[in-house]
Symmetry: C2
Subunit: 111 residues, 2 copies
DNA sequence: TCTATTTATCGTATATTTACGATATTAAAT
DNA sequence: ATTTAATATCGTAAATATACGATAAATAGA
């Protein structure tokens, strides 16, 4: 991008955009749902369920971790991933905050 | 991407990822907030407030429109943009649905 | 009518994302 | 000790996203 202008926006808008970006690929949405339902937390089982190569799933997990939505621990030979509740709450609170603003004004629309 | 695997995921996960993608840039978060607060709905005024070129803002507005989160009408010389309530509700319901799943299991975490 | 204003679109350069195979690393199993 | 299994990382190719200036198109205003 010639230049990256993201830094020119407010911290809070950047943060919200980052959370949204973490969820902007169906693989990552699917991973979050798997972890949330706790049908599994082992990397290998997630790989089995998703239509992607092992290295690609690993990459998506890393991105979720980077965004803070997920945390991982090494369990012997395997890797265990879990939802990071604190950050997830924070993220969803921001979306809800937007929803509340919206509900307040819902009655009026100029177009 | 060699190949695009997004279509291999469930409709609902794709839809959620699309909403998230629409909000994955701080400029688009900022635009939604401006429209939600109804401090303005005229394209030109949005351009003035954001640290981006007119053509870039136009592009971001188009993406929000494509995701269904925003609708626009032409008003003489100008363009008016508004939140598309139906779709926005739908988007936020999906995020909330995820939140509810999370709250149910909150007490337990394996890592 | 002619000019200015407003916005969308086109073309394009650069950055980032997505995806995979190959390989490295580490623990488990034999 | 050697082999197998699980996962992360590296390198890389291709697709998308981001950003801008230039230009087109259409209305407003003189």
């Amino acid at each position: 991008m010639a230049q990256n202008k993201k830094a020119d926006f407010s911290e809070i808008d950047q943060e919200m955009a980052n959370f949204a970006k973490a969820l902007s690929h169906p693989a990552r949405v699917a991973i979050i749902k798997i972890l949330a339902a706790q049908s599994s937390c082992i990397c290998g089982e997630i790989v089995e369920v998703l239509p992607l190569a092992q290295s690609t799933v690993s990459q998506h997990l890393k991105e979720l971790q980077l965004a803070g939505l997920v945390k991982g621990t090494i369990d012997g030979n395997k890797s265990c991933y879990c939802i990071n509740w604190e950050t997830m709450q924070q993220a969803i609170q921001q979306f809800n905050g937007l929803l509340n603003t919206l509900n307040d004004r819902k009655t009026f629309s100029c177009c």
